[in-house]
Symmetry: C2
Subunit: 353 residues, 2 copies
């Protein structure tokens, strides 16, 4: 099996830790290694670094290589411009498939958390069986709560068994639901979180891309032998449509399958989600770095810059010290952190962006 | 007139800005000069630096001289140990009175704010008249709100007029009142805030100290000619009782008088009091330094370290970045900041104390 790690994100939800030059996947958000590196380490017992590649934005390519020194040269694929996930998946499938047409490929986001890495690797292994048979397999996370922040996959009929997992058809991809629907999804047992993790044969994905997304497939397939050449890639890339792999392929293909899995997954979508993946103190405070909570409850305090951060008597706040900037907001306002970034942009505070 | 600035405080209410080596009076709490320097600058048009002295803790003497370079040598009186305000006032009165027995002396705390410095100087000038006649004059601030955090002076009969101010007898010094009593005090017009500002003749204060506080007066008067000599001062000081000038003299003397004044005074007792003395934005946020409040109201954000501090969507918080440590607490929990200091002490975090 090969793996392609998608590291093209440039989100603003983790300001002031995240910046244009240092997006979420490069952060030590959970106190350990950068999330990108955690992704590769999690994979390593199943897929050696020699069989990995990373697709990322051009401005991040050098930093990615620094974070992953074990990656052989040429395995960081720099997207000349952002073109959404279908283009990234196509680039990976063509690059790998050009040398090994029927290679199995796993697609993995660079910025997610997995609580049970062995379970994760077992799931990849289980997914490889239907993938070999020609399915585009997506891993569907068994929901543990009525989450309204994730997309869902509606699972259909059972197709087969793989290593004790049931492989099921995909009925539909469902956008983020409201609360009532999310509760129904948890109860019905047939809706799974869409984690953006896929396993497929390179030739099958290339065929489906050619069928459903010629605007992505054609320019890249035409340059398949020359994608190592930055000029050739840039020229082909400029003609590529920007669309997500879910909308462009997974919702249209009749080869989609879903493997229900449960390995402690979180997309770590905001500071407010850190309590899902990090241990809290007895008052529910998640403290990263030199953080202290006194008579305080439910706070997320990220003090990874080395300087102490003390929260006294407060509830349900996010407090983040990035070393060169500090942010304080209530946990339930994390979705508005992008407004801070917009305000700084409007003020021309490039030093903070 | 001479002035003695009392700079002996070592409070913990402004952690993380304040430290053992950098108490409140040395902080640029309001964004301008250190409060001690502001005190001297406010005084300068009325009392030249040559006629000022500063009483402070021994460990702060060098820093005080640095903050006040215009102070002639020998005008920083270092207390060998803290002995409360009566000893500091006695030291100042004896030092000044030894050379100029009937000198007028103003006693001024180093860490208060005055919104109207000209009004403050006019009040000192008005107080000098009854002081010359032998009164120990205290300035009583006309209360602008039912404050429960201050001591009050109950004013008695009118004694005289001075520059348009009415000089009144002191009926009593009143400890911090409860809310109902504070409201009555504001309404009755005869209760004034005790600001710890005094004007007196050196010989009168020395006489009252000798009468009411021989445990303070006797050791210092015995060494009156040698108080410049650190060894002589230390020896005398070791015998001095520790008591406040209010309890020790003002409550006992029959020479007390109070001058009702109103010059925008605040003792700036905590971060929560900054809105009394600094302008707020239209949402009631007080922002010092590179501080930003977005969709946030009633916050005090002190970002004087130079790094930006952003508060998003929060209400009534205090957020302080001292450069080497960050504190977040609700405004109404500022009185508990000493608990943070205690916790750091218990952990041996001397770098933060």
């Amino acid at each position: 099996m090969y793996a392609a790690i998608l590291a093209g994100g440039s989100g603003t939800r983790f300001w002031p830790l995240s910046r244009k030059a240092r997006p979420k996947q490069m952060l030590r958000l959970l106190g350990g290694a950068p999330m990108l590196r955690e992704t590769m380490l999690r994979l390593a017992p199943a897929v050696a670094p020699e069989r990995c590649l990373v697709v990322c934005g051009a401005r991040h390519a050098r930093e990615v290589a620094k974070i992953l020194p074990e990656l052989p040269p040429g395995r960081v694929l720099a997207e000349p411009t952002p073109k959404n996930t279908a283009a990234a998946v196509a680039l990976a499938a063509i690059r790998i498939g050009h040398h090994d047409p029927r290679a199995l490929v796993a697609i993995l986001p660079a910025d997610h958390h997995v609580g049970n890495p062995a379970g994760f690797r077992a799931a990849l292994s289980a997914a490889s069986k239907p993938a070999k048979e020609g399915y585009l397999v997506t891993l569907g996370i068994t929901p543990s709560r009525p989450e309204t922040g994730y997309g869902y996959i509606a699972a259909g009929d059972a197709l087969a068994m793989a290593d004790g997992h049931e492989v099921r058809a995909v009925s539909a991809f469902v956008e983020k639901p409201d609360r009532a629907r999310a509760e129904a999804y948890v109860a019905d047992g047939s809706h799974l979180w869409n984690a953006g993790i896929f396993v497929f044969r390179a030739d099958v994905m290339r065929g489906e891309l050619a069928r459903h997304l010629p605007g992505v497939s054609d320019p890249l397939e035409a340059a398949a032998a020359r994608l190592d050449d930055p000029a050739a890639l840039a020229e082909a890339w400029s003609k590529v449509d920007a669309i997500s792999i879910d909308h462009g392929v997974m919702e249209r293909t009749n080869r989609a399958a879903v493997l229900p899995v449960d390995f402690g997954w979180s997309d770590v979508g905001s500071f407010a989600s850190l309590p899902e993946v990090l241990e809290a103190d007895e008052s529910g405070n998640v403290l990263v770095g030199d953080a202290k909570a006194l008579d305080a409850a439910g706070n997320v305090v990220h003090a990874a810059s080395g300087r102490p951060v003390v929260v006294l008597g407060a509830r349900d706040l996010v407090v983040v010290d990035a070393g060169d900037a500090v942010l304080v907001c209530p946990k339930d306002r994390c979705q508005d952190i992008r407004r801070v970034v917009e305000a700084l942009e409007a003020e021309g505070r490039d030093d903070l962006l």
